[in-house]
């Protein structure tokens, strides 16, 4: 029997809360563990630690939450691919990450948002990420027809990511490999897709 979304969420949350003692490590240690391929979970912990602050920073800078979320995904993906360039002697991981994000923001804004302008713009409520995802997943369990309609509103990549992760229950790493992308980017696509679905799927009666 397939586990329910709620059961999967519980399992995922438990794993996320105790990632092999990584929560006690400094940013520099996490990045070193990632760079030296010692611990595959280290970058995930670095992501969890700074993702929210980075979204807030970029949303403030750009006044555009959609763009900020794109930039967060890009920034973590760039940080991951350029991890050899991180030098703890020059500063901690957070300013390094935020520096990358600042440059990405400048580049993206100057490019005129080629991708961004092509997408449907929807306002995001400024609410807690975990709560939104939880609510969206709960509604997805019970509102299939609305979900099908809602999926039409997602970009191709967001739709593929949500279907692969939530409906087909594939691992992020698996999806990333198939898409030739990074796990961070895939996680952001799923997160963004679920947020959009959360707005079109009606709430369950209480």
């Amino acid at each position: 029997m397939r586990p329910t979304v709620a059961a999967r969420r519980t399992n995922t949350s438990r794993v996320a809360r105790s990632p092999l003692g990584l929560t006690a490590k400094s940013d520099a240690e996490l990045l070193r563990l990632t760079r030296d391929r010692i611990d595959a979970e280290a970058f995930g912990e670095f992501y969890r630690r700074h993702q929210r602050a980075l979204i807030q920073f970029l949303a403030r800078q750009t006044c555009d939450r959609d763009l900020a979320q794109d930039l967060v995904a890009e920034s973590f993906a760039i940080a991951f691919s350029k991890i050899d360039r991180f030098d703890p002697e020059r500063g901690d991981g957070r300013p390094w990450l935020f520096g990358i994000a600042r440059i990405a923001m400048l580049a993206r804004l100057r490019e005129g948002g080629v991708e961004h302008a092509a997408r449907q713009r929807l306002d995001h409520p400024d609410v807690d990420d975990a709560a939104v995802l939880e609510a969206a997943e709960a509604r997805i369990d019970s509102s299939t027809s609305h979900v099908v309609a809602g999926l039409e509103r997602l970009s191709d990549r967001e739709r593929d990511a949500v279907i692969s992760r939530v409906l087909e229950e594939r691992e992020y790493s698996d999806i990333a490999r198939r898409e030739r992308s990074s796990e961070v980017v895939v996680r952001q696509r799923v997160s963004r897709g679920l947020r959009k679905l959360a707005r079109v799927v009606p709430r369950e009666p209480r």
Binding site: E74, R90, G91, G99, I103, L106, A107, R110, V114
Partner: protein, 143 residues
């Protein structure tokens, strides 16, 4: 102090030199520019793909110019892109200097030799990039 010169080329091109102290800074910034341009190309609609491809090519050219030279970096390219890149390099240089100063401001001990050396290096890199930016902008105003 860095020396920056600017040449105006034909067809809206601009050539500028960035002091070698800012080379690592320039490479870091242009690496991110390239990653963003690659991401943009991978998501571009068919009618936007050509523009995105040209942008990636131009940024890639600048990245090679910054990474493959020794001594002052000569950057040649379309004027708007050069100025955009130099502005971002200067901005990142100022940010890196600011981050270091913030860390140093939080310590009470006298600055060690390493910290002073790092301050000098970052200060020189930021100044080099800012000089290049000023030279570019001054030249654009003249034309």
């Amino acid at each position: 102090m860095s020396v920056v010169t600017v040449e105006l080329g034909g067809r809206g091109e601009l050539a500028t030199w960035v002091d070698e102290s800012a080379q690592a800074l320039a490479v870091d910034v242009l690496d991110v520019f390239m990653a963003v341009a690659e991401e943009t190309l991978s998501h571009a609609r068919s009618d936007e793909r050509q523009r995105a491809r040209e942008r990636l090519q131009d940024v890639g050219d600048l990245r090679r110019q910054a990474g493959e030279t020794t001594g002052p970096i000569r950057m040649v390219g379309e004027e708007d892109l050069i100025v955009e890149a130099i502005r971002a390099i200067a901005s990142h240089g100022a940010y890196e200097l600011d981050v270091l100063l913030e860390v140093l401001a939080g310590t009470r001990a006298p600055l060690g030799e390493e910290a002073v050396e790092m301050l000098r290096a970052r200060s020189a890199a930021a100044a080099g990039a800012i000089e290049a930016l000023i030279a570019c902008e001054a030249d654009r105003r003249r034309t």
